[in-house]
């Protein structure tokens, strides 16, 4: 993975930058000793590490604006950071950058049930947003797997999804407004406690822009009342093609589950050995969850099991209680941990049209044999968002590179069948150099034009998302800044 050569002139000015930052932040909010900056050397894509020049932890939007103004004047690149759980290297520092962490900004600013929104500072974790309203029966819908740790700031940057977005949508569908600081230090507000901000949909393009357009410090989020209940059904099939057809039939029948999760045999085997969830040993397993009152759930599950029966399942297990539901979900929720017990793994995130599922699974199997690396598939089947987990040995020379090449081939396959490189994790550095596979130069130029407008000097998280060869000329001014 190539990163830009750190700007020596910026590093040479470190002492001055530190001093200026200390002038606007509390003493403990400016981290600049090498032994301490190392805490920020990576996010959840741990294969790549680089300590930042400085890390700052502002407590207010005003402080964020001061920090950005200083960095803008000094020509210092800024990498925003939520909780550092990005799987794509979205918060990976460069040696010449300031990491701007929003972790100290985690307050709930306003809760309004009549108008169904919550306004929070973006350092707040995803799960604690729901935590702030669940005693009154409400929840915040997007539920990335890292929700215990991940921050709303990062959710907005990556437009995070989760298992339940088939029904409730991803972050962008639940974000009503933001307070954001531009690289120049200007505080702007877009949208708010009402639907559909006026004018151009800036909110829509800010969400998912991977911290490259501004630093979002406050967010107005839509909250919903919890359903009366939810229960899953588990079904096993002896081939994945049939499982795919079953998913398609469920959707066509007009039942819209909240989640349809899929696991293949390698994943089922690993999970069983790890979590003992009592899953059937078969080629493909589906967990389909529906919501409503008990009677509504029974009705929907009956329709779903009727459809499943037509596909000759080897197992059909309908949950009748909270305990049975937990047992069905246990394996799925342990899947990543289970794979991690076997070996190091790389988690991919491509999305494909649901109809392409059998073909893609077959090709992944073939490639697995060609590369000599095992792979397990676990994914959100309702929306085609795949998470192939490629197993490799980080201590074996060359294995990481082999795994990355395999991963790149899988993502190219996703694009080839009409899908995309990343469904919910983001591009970061991980998929940056594959962007050419999905987009032509003109397509990338149009996206980069947006960054040109928001951040003309390309100082915010500049080495991410776009291949370095197409951003080189744009990143030059930053190098020249003195």
């Amino acid at each position: 993975m190539e990163m830009p050569i750190p700007n020596a002139s910026v590093i040479a000015r470190k002492a001055r930058v530190v001093k200026r930052l200390q002038g606007v932040l509390p003493a403990d909010a400016v981290i600049h000793e090498e032994v301490e900056t190392r805490a920020y050397e990576c996010d959840a894509l741990t294969a790549y590490r680089c300590a930042p020049m400085i890390a700052v932890l502002p407590s207010t939007t005003g402080q964020v604006a001061e920090v950005l103004r200083i960095c803008h004047q000094e020509g210092v690149p800024v990498v925003p950071r939520g909780s550092g759980t990005s799987l794509a290297g979205g918060a990976l520092p460069t040696a010449d950058c300031v990491i701007l962490g929003v972790a100290r900004m985690n307050d709930v600013l306003e809760t309004d049930y009549d108008n169904r929104f919550i306004r929070v500072q973006t350092g707040r974790t995803n799960l604690s947003v729901t935590g702030a309203v669940e005693q009154d029966g409400f929840f915040y819908a997007p539920d990335p797997s890292s929700q215990l740790a991940c921050a709303i700031a990062g959710n907005i940057a990556m437009n995070s999804g989760g298992a339940h977005c088939l029904k409730y949508g991803v972050t962008t569908n639940n974000l009503m407004g933001v307070k954001m600081v531009t690289m120049e230090g200007e505080i702007i507000e877009i949208g708010g406690a009402y639907l559909d901000a006026g004018g151009l949909d800036l909110l829509g393009v800010i969400c998912g822009s991977e911290g490259q357009l501004g630093v979002v410090t406050e967010a107005t989020l839509r909250i919903l009342h919890k359903p009366e209940g939810a229960r899953p059904v588990l079904m096993g099939f002896d081939n994945s093609e049939v499982a795919g057809a079953c998913v398609s039939d469920i959707i066509k029948a007009g039942v819209l589950p909240v989640a349809i999760e899929f696991m293949d045999r390698p994943c089922i085997e690993a999970t069983e050995a790890f979590a003992h969830a009592g899953y059937p040993m078969c080629e493909a397993l589906l967990i389909v969850e529906v919501e409503g009152s008990d009677a509504e759930i029974d009705h929907q599950l009956a329709l779903i099991t009727d459809i499943a029966r037509r596909h000759n399942p080897v197992e059909l297990r309908q949950s009748r209680s909270a305990e049975e539901s937990a047992a069905i979900w246990l394996g799925r929720k342990s899947a990543f941990g289970a794979m991690g017990q076997i070996n190091d793994y790389m988690c991919l995130d491509g999305t494909i049209p649901v109809s392409g599922l059998p073909h893609v699974l077959r090709r992944i199997g073939e490639m697995s044999r060609e590369y000599g690396l095992n792979v397990g598939n676990v994914f959100h089947a309702g929306d085609g968002n795949m998470h192939p987990l490629i197993l490799y040995d980080a201590n074996k020379p060359g294995d990481l590179e082999l795994c990355e090449a395999f991963g790149a081939d899988i993502l190219k396959l996703c694009v080839e069948v009409g899908g995309c490189l990343t469904g919910e994790h983001g591009v970061g550095i991980e998929k940056r150099d594959l962007m050419h596979v999905q987009y032509d130069v003109a397509d990338l130029e149009a996206q980069m034009a947006v960054k040109d407008v928001f951040d003309p000097m390309w100082l915010l998280n500049p080495a991410k998302v776009f291949p370095l060869d197409v951003t080189g000329a744009r990143r030059q001014p930053a190098v020249a800044a003195e």
Binding site: G199, D201, C207, H225, T351, G384, A442
Partner: protein, 363 residues
């Protein structure tokens, strides 16, 4: 009138344009602009439809009615319920899917499933230099690069001319019904709607029509479930009289709300105010409007004003914004804050450096 039949032709036409262009689909939404008309109606046809994947791809000029008919055969629909502006604006013509997306037109179901922009998965468009660009795709989850799809939705043709769109579609429910609360004043009506939306009963429409004295809540789904939830709402809410509309009457009621039918035959300017739902009654009260219709549980207020009535001054400062939908005495869109305006105008300059698309629309 320019009527390109392929994207390449569209691109050539824009690259060679020597004068401003008035970008239109079916021209049913009254987005007035100067310039030579450029219509996408000849870019027409559904190019891909996968019911099992809930996705449909169509050229921008495809009539909405054609798409709805094809979807209906598979028992699916455009869940965001796009409004038909023709009756309200007294226009004829054929609404196109590109027009729907360019104007981000949603209906009553917006409160439960999202806006048109939430269903738009991918776009192809031609920018002001005549360059064809794609963004997004045809899958439901896609965070690959910036979301220009959202930026194009609701940009009213000011950033580019849409040539193709891909959308998420949803299954039609088995049935629907609407609970009508009769005789409530605005404040208790909006309170009741908030109560219903704050319940677990998945309301997909929440409107209040003061003139008719009707406060309406729509429930959709399987028949037994609809009955159950209508019953649950009845016990949750109170009103002097409550009645229930069956599926057909319910559909008719929401078509009326969606298209703001009560204002169609009445004179005056028509405004659309997006606000915090609980503020709806207070805003309507100080608007001086001749007619009021609340949708989105009060978060969308349709106001019929005397011609030339200055609604924005009457409302003063509040969380939200007002759009002039019928009338020409004021700018269509609310003025933006300086910071936002700078970004907006910067984007327009980059996407359309010659400023040839829809001059006068959106600043």
């Amino acid at each position: 009138m320019h009527r390109p039949t392929t994207e390449a032709e569209l691109a050539g036409m824009i690259a060679g344009a020597q004068e401003p262009l008035h970008v239109i689909g079916g021209a049913t939404r009254g987005v007035g602009a100067g310039g030579a008309p450029l219509s996408t109606v000849a870019l027409s046809g559904i190019t891909l439809y996968e019911p099992g994947a809930m996705t449909l791809v169509a050229q921008a000029g495809t009539p909405v009615a054609e798409i709805e008919a094809v979807l209906a055969r598979e028992n699916q629909r455009l869940a965001f319920e796009p409004m038909d502006h023709r009756a309200l604006l007294g226009r004829t013509g054929t609404p196109t899917i590109g027009g729907v997306m360019a104007a981000n037109v949603s209906g009553p179901r917006r409160i439960s499933v999202g806006a048109a922009r939430d269903f738009l998965l991918g776009v192809r468009y031609v920018d002001g230099m005549g360059q064809a660009v794609k963004n997004g795709g045809r899958v439901m989850k896609n965070v690959t690069g910036y979301d220009l799809v959202k930026l194009m939705a609701g940009s009213f043709g000011t950033l580019g001319v849409l040539s193709e769109i891909s959308m998420k579609v949803l299954p039609c429910p088995e049935t629907e019904a609407t609970l009508i609360l009769h005789g409530l004043d605005d404040l208790p009506a909006i309170t009741a709607l908030a109560r219903a939306l704050g319940s677990p009963f998945e309301v997909t429409g929440a409107a209040h029509d003061p003139a008719a004295g009707q406060t309406a809540l729509r429930i959709e789904g399987f028949s037994s479930s609809v009955d159950y939830r209508i019953g649950a709402l009845k016990s949750l809410l109170s009103a002097p009289v409550m009645t229930v509309l069956d599926a057909d009457a319910s559909a008719a009621h929401w078509a009326m709300v969606r298209d703001v039918t009560p204002f169609a035959q009445e004179a005056g300017d028509v405004w659309r105010v997006s606000c915090k739902p609980s503020q709806g009654p207070a805003l309507a009260a100080r608007s001086g409007a001749l007619g009021v219709l609340y949708d989105w549980a009060g978060g969308l207020i349709w106001l019929r004003m005397a011609r030339g009535g200055d609604l924005r001054s009457a409302l003063g400062s509040y969380d939200g914004h007002a759009t002039l939908v019928r009338g020409d005495s004021f700018a269509r869109f609310e003025p933006e804050s300086a910071g936002v305006a700078r970004l907006t105008s910067g984007l327009r300059k980059r996407f359309d450096p010659r400023r040839i698309f829809n001059p006068g629309v959106m600043g």
